[in-house]
Symmetry: C2
Subunit: 250 residues, 2 copies
Amino acid sequence: MLDNAVGLWPEKPVDDGDARHFCSTCVFGRLCLPRGYDKAALHELHCLIEHVGPFHAGAEIFRTGDAFDAVFSVRAGVVKTQLRDERGREQILAFYTPGDLIGLDGIEDDRYPCTAVAVDTVMLCRFSFPAIATLSARVPDLQRTLFAVMARDLRMAQWHKGDFPAEARLADFLLRWGQRLAQRGYSGTQLTLPMPRGDIANYLSLAPETVSRSLRRLMDDGLVEVRGREVKLCQPPALVELARAITDRA
Amino acid sequence: MLDNAVGLWPEKPVDDGDARHFCSTCVFGRLCLPRGYDKAALHELHCLIEHVGPFHAGAEIFRTGDAFDAVFSVRAGVVKTQLRDERGREQILAFYTPGDLIGLDGIEDDRYPCTAVAVDTVMLCRFSFPAIATLSARVPDLQRTLFAVMARDLRMAQWHKGDFPAEARLADFLLRWGQRLAQRGYSGTQLTLPMPRGDIANYLSLAPETVSRSLRRLMDDGLVEVRGREVKLCQPPALVELARAITDRA
DNA sequence: CGACTGTTTGAAGACGATCAACCCCTGTGG
DNA sequence: CCACAGGGGTTGATCGTCTTCAAACAGTCG
């Protein structure tokens, strides 16, 4: 493993002997392909890394309007990004797990458009943006990776267009969370939701009560088992079918 | 005017004597600032341009799954992007007007994730993506512009998270459409909607009937005048107030 | 034990979707 | 010249889902 020491990877990658596996768990994984990776560029990338954290639940990593000077790669924990209006209402935009890159959208006007908050205990890698932008001009793969990260975020945001039944949204959310865990070598069916129900509700644009009720209905139908924040997906195919209304759009 | 001949600009830019105006009407406007623009790079960019069109209403510019090999700048007309599931239902993701750049999100997996369709008669500039990616590595401003375009799309997509009253969505939509026109030198209050009601409804995740009803309510309240696809914004401040629920989030 | 937050459950109400009908305009063909 | 068909748009009535308000409940920490 090339450089886990520098914290580019999440804490518990699967060591299956195939380095390409990291393409899906680390935003800079593309740079690490056995063939074609640029050793010098990788070294430069390492020089940019600055470890920050831990941030504890509720701590803000950056706020809306802060000067955009860096992007962050999640190394451990979960981060949420949110918008807040003057009346204090907030809208959660996304949850980020280890391997995800945060903050790139600040490039539009040199300010972060949203606030990033630690959901649980979070460790991050910080990359100075001017430096990484300069480097990406020299390393095509890095530039492409950065574009891909934004395109991915865009696609995720687009997924949420359209109004779908509460249960479909929830099923989709649970399945995706499971996929994320599975990508990092954990169980994809036995999962822990680190965020409170209210955050899930906000993210899915539902009332917390609706989340609770939908979850109960899923449980009554035997599709999941729920005990607090521990969730077991009992019938993934049925959940997929439920979420189909959303997922088959892409 | 540096190079309208190559079609980088929309057809009717405002000639107010301030070249920086183009920053808001042309995605590559940043490259054209009086000071700091790179003449050689600009020339190279021109060499990449390939004019395509006209596309007539309903014609597809690219489809979901097509190989991603180019991005397009809208020169005239309106383009919509949409997803379609196997049941034929479609979800409109965005409308693009002159100056907007389409297709960048195809970079994620080398395929366009959505279908781009002409809403009315459309003229485009086509840029081979490999070429523009190479060029952007040499021209920091271009690279930054491309990032900004994606960040902007992302922000627009995020705006639509959250569920807002139908009238607020409509007010927001009309105001934004007016802003786009105003940026290009047209009236921001007297506007023509080139797309059918059904497209507006789909885009806003509403039923066509709801769009019609909301529009009528806005008209009864004296906020707008509607005659077919011609809309006049009579009380922009009141519309802003109505849309506030959405817009004050950013 | 008691304050606290987060979660669940219940009952009432609001909003938008759906179904259905009608209207308006345009183009077409007898 | 008129009749008719077809699409887009509007209007009305009904229904379903989610929200809201309210209260009870569970887990945690002082």
